[in-house]
C-alpha cells in the first residue's frame, strides 16, 4: 500500500530497460514533445547534478585533504589543550551529541504533532492552519543570531537554565521545527485520498490510521525534514554561542555549558592564531559524524515505514 520506490526502470524511462521500452525522448515514437527537448532537458538535469557533485568535492575535498593529518584516535578521545591547538575534541563531541540529542528529542515529537494537525485536522483553507503555516514560514527566516539572542533571553535568563546544553538544544529545536513540520506536512498531504477513505471504510480509529498508514506514507518528507534539521543543527554556530556557550570542559549534566563542534571550528579558524590545522581536523570529524547520524536516521525511518506497511 505504501508507495514503493519507483526506479526509472519501472517507468520505462531507462532506455532499454523494462518491457515496452518507452525510453527517453531520444528514441522515436515518444509522444508529446520534440525529441531534442528531451535531450536538452536531460543535459540540464545531469549538468546540475554534476555541478553540485563538483561543488561538494571541492568543499569537502578541501576539508578532507587539510584535516586528514590532524585526526587520529587520540584526537577523538583527548580533551582540547592550548585553546584547542593541541589535544583533541573529546569533550566537544560529547557536548555536540548532547545538544543534538536534546534538539531532536524535543523537535521531532513536536514537529510530527504539528504536521499531523496541519494536514489532518486543519484543512487547506482553515484560518488556524494558515496562521500556523505562516508562523512556521516566518520562523524559518529568522536569522541565526536572533535565535541565539532570543534563546539567551528566554532559555538562559527567563527560564533560568543559564549557559547550558539544555538551552542550546532547546534553541536549536526552535530553529529546526519549521523545516521539519513543513516537510512532513508536505508528504502527508500528498498521501492520496483513497488511503484515508479506505481507512474510514475499514472503521479504524484516527490514531491507528495515522500510525499505520499515514506516517509510513509520509516517510519521504519525514526523512528530508529530519536530515535537513540535523544538518541545520550541526551547522549552527551563532545561535549556540549565546546559549550552550564556549566552555570546553566535559559536561556533567545537561545544565552544564558545553561547546559544540561548530563553535570549536569557528574559534580555531577565526579566533585563535595557529588553530587552523585542528579546525580542519574537527571539520573532518564533523562530516564523518554527519554521515553516521544521517545513515542511522534514514535507516530508522525507513524501517518504521516498512513496519507500518506490514501491519497495515
Amino acid at each position: 500500500m505504501v508507495e514503493r520506490d519507483l526506479s526509472a526502470a519501472t517507468l520505462g524511462m531507462d532506455p532499454g530497460a523494462g518491457p515496452g521500452g518507452l525510453g527517453g525522448g531520444a528514441g522515436g515514437g515518444a509522444r508529446g514533445s520534440v525529441p531534442w527537448v528531451d535531450v536538452v532537458f536531460g543535459a540540464a538535469v545531469r549538468g546540475s547534478a554534476l555541478l553540485l557533485a563538483a561543488g561538494f568535492f571541492w568543499l569537502v575535498g578541501d576539508i578532507v585533504v587539510s584535516g586528514w593529518e590532524a585526526v587520529d584516535w587520540s584526537f577523538l578521545t583527548t580533551a582540547p589543550e592550548r585553546s584547542g591547538r593541541a589535544g583533541g575534541i573529546s569533550t566537544i563531541l560529547v557536548s555536540t551529541l548532547a545538544i543534538l540529542g536534546i534538539a531532536l528529542a524535543v523537535s521531532v515529537p513536536l514537529g510530527l504533532g504539528t504536521a499531523l494537525f496541519l494536514s489532518e485536522f486543519a484543512d487547506g483553507d482553515s484560518r488556524l492552519g494558515r496562521l500556523v503555516r505562516a508562523s512556521l514560514d516566518v520562523l524559518a527566516g529568522v536569522p541565526s543570531i536572533v535565535f541565539g539572542l532570543f534563546g539567551n533571553a528566554f532559555f538562559c535568563v527567563v527560564l533560568g537554565f543559564g549557559f547550558s546544553i539544555l538551552s542550546g538544544g532547546l534553541t536549536l529545536a526552535c530553529m529546526i521545527l519549521p523545516i521539519l513540520i513543513r516537510s512532513i506536512e508536505l508528504s502527508l498531504r500528498a498521501v492520496p485520498r483513497d488511503y484515508r477513505l479506505a481507512g474510514s471504510a475499514l472503521d479504524i480509529s484516527r490514531t491507528r490510521m495515522i500510525l499505520s498508514v499515514l506516517l509510513p506514507a509520509a516517510s519521504p518528507g519525514l526523512v528530508a525534514g529530519l536530515l535537513l534539521g540535523i544538518g541545520r543543527a550541526t551547522a549552527e554556530t551563532a545561535a549556540l554561542i549565546f546559549t550552550s556557550g564556549y566552555v570546553d570542559r566535559m559536561p556533567e549534566s545537561v545544565f552544564d555549558s558545553g561547546r559544540s563542534l561548530s563553535i570549536h571550528i569557528y574559534d580555531l579558524s577565526m579566533n585563535v592564531p595557529g588553530g587552523e590545522a585542528n579546525a580542519y581536523g574537527a571539520a573532518l570529524v564533523l562530516v564523518a559524524l554527519l554521515l553516521v547520524i544521517n545513515f542511522v536516521a534514514t535507516t530508522l525511518v525507513e524501517r518504521f515505514a516498512a513496519k507500518g506497511v506490514r501491519q497495515g
Binding site: S135, R182, I230
Partner: protein, 288 residues
C-alpha cells in the same frame, strides 16, 4: 467509546503542539520589538530609510541610521542565491528521482545531506580563502555581492534539492503509470504530470531555501566585504542586515545595540511580507 476518546486526546494534543509553534513566532517577534523599541523611539522610523548612510556610533550626534544599503544587500544576495539554487536544486532532485539508478541516487543524496550539515563558518572560511581571491582576479576587492550569492547558493541548494526530492517522491505512482501508458516522453511526463502534481512541495522547497538564505549570518559576514553602501555592480562589497547585527553587536553600546536590533526587525518585516505574498499566491493557485 474509548477509541473516540483516544482520538479526541490526539486532536487536542496536536492542537497544543501547533499552538506552541505559533506562540514561538510571537515571542521572537515580541523580543525583537522589545529590544529595538528604544532605538526606534530615539531615532524615528523614517530615518532608518532616509538617512544618508550607516554610521550609528558617532559620539557627537552626527550619527546616521540608514538601513537601505543593508536591505538592498539582503534582497539581492537572497534573490541571486535562490535564482541559482532553485533551478539547479530542482533539476538535481529530478536527476535523483527519475534519471539516476537507485544506487547513484542514494549516493548523490548522501552528498547533498552532508553539504546541508557543514557549519556556516566552514562555508565562510572556504569562501574567504578560496572564492574571494578567485573573484578578485576578475574584479577587486573580491569580497562582494557575487561572493555572497555564490556562497549562499551552495548553502541553500541542499535544502531546495532534498525537499524537492521528497516532493517528487510524493507524486502518486498512478500518475506516473498513467503517463507511461500514454507513451509520454520523459520531459513531457515531467512537465505535464510530475511538476503540476508536486507543485506545492516544490514551492515549499523554494520558500524554505529562500528563508534559509535570508537568515544566514556567519558566511555572508566573511565574504561580502561588509561595506554599508548600496551596490552598483555585482562585484561591489555589500553588508546584509544579518551581517550588520553580527558585526557590531558584540561591541555596541546600549543605544547602538538597540538600533542594531532594528536591522533584525527590518529583516523580519521583509520575511513576514514574503510569507504573506506566498500565502496569497498559494490561495489563488488552489482556488483557480
Amino acid at each position: 467509546m474509548p477509541r473516540q476518546r483516544a482520538d479526541r486526546i490526539l486532536v487536542w494534543s496536536l492542537r497544543a503542539t501547533s499552538a506552541l509553534a505559533g506562540l514561538l513566532v510571537l515571542m521572537i517577534l515580541g523580543f525583537l520589538v522589545f529590544e529595538s523599541l528604544d532605538g526606534v523611539r530615539r531615532v524615528g522610523a523614517p530615518r532608518f530609510l532616509s538617512d544618508p548612510g550607516w554610521h550609528p556610533n558617532q559620539g557627537d550626534g552626527s550619527s546616521e541610521f540608514s538601513l537601505l544599503p543593508m536591505i538592498v544587500a539582503t534582497l539581492t544576495t537572497t534573490l541571486g542565491a535562490i535564482l541559482l539554487a532553485g533551478p539547479i536544486g530542482i533539476l538535481a532532485a529530478v536527476y535523483c528521482r527519475f534519471y539516476a539508478s537507485e544506487r547513484v541516487s542514494k549516493l548523490f543524496r548522501r552528498l547533498i545531506e552532508l553539504l546541508a550539515g557543514i557549519p556556516s563558518v566552514v562555508y565562510g572560511f572556504w569562501g574567504l580563502v578560496t572564492l574571494v581571491p578567485l573573484i578578485r582576479e576578475i574584479a577587486p576587492p573580491g569580497a562582494s555581492l557575487a561572493a555572497g550569492v555564490l556562497v549562499l547558493f551552495l548553502m541553500i541548494v541542499p535544502t531546495v534539492a532534498l525537499l524537492a526530492f521528497a516532493a517528487l517522491k510524493d507524486v502518486p505512482k498512478q500518475h506516473l503509470e498513467g503517463a507511461a501508458a500514454l507513451s509520454l516522453s520523459r520531459w513531457s511526463t515531467l512537465r505535464q504530470v510530475v511538476f503540476p502534481s508536486a507543485a506545492s512541495g516544490l514551492g515549499i522547497a523554494l520558500l524554505l531555501g529562500t528563508m534559509r538564505a535570508l537568515g544566514e549570518t556567519m558566511a555572508v559576514l566573511m565574504v561580502c566585504g561588509n561595506i554599508a553602501r548600496v551596490p552598483e555592480s555585482l562585484f561591489d562589497p555589500v553588508r546584509t542586515l544579518t551581517a550588520n547585527i553580527a558585526l557590531e553587536l558584540g561591541y555596541a553600546t546600549a543605544d547602538h545595540r538597540s538600533v542594531l536590533f532594528v536591522s533584525g526587525l527590518a529583516l523580519m518585516i521583509m520575511v513576514v511580507g514574503l510569507v504573506v505574498v506566498q500565502d496569497r499566491l498559494q490561495r489563488r493557485a488552489s482556488l483557480g
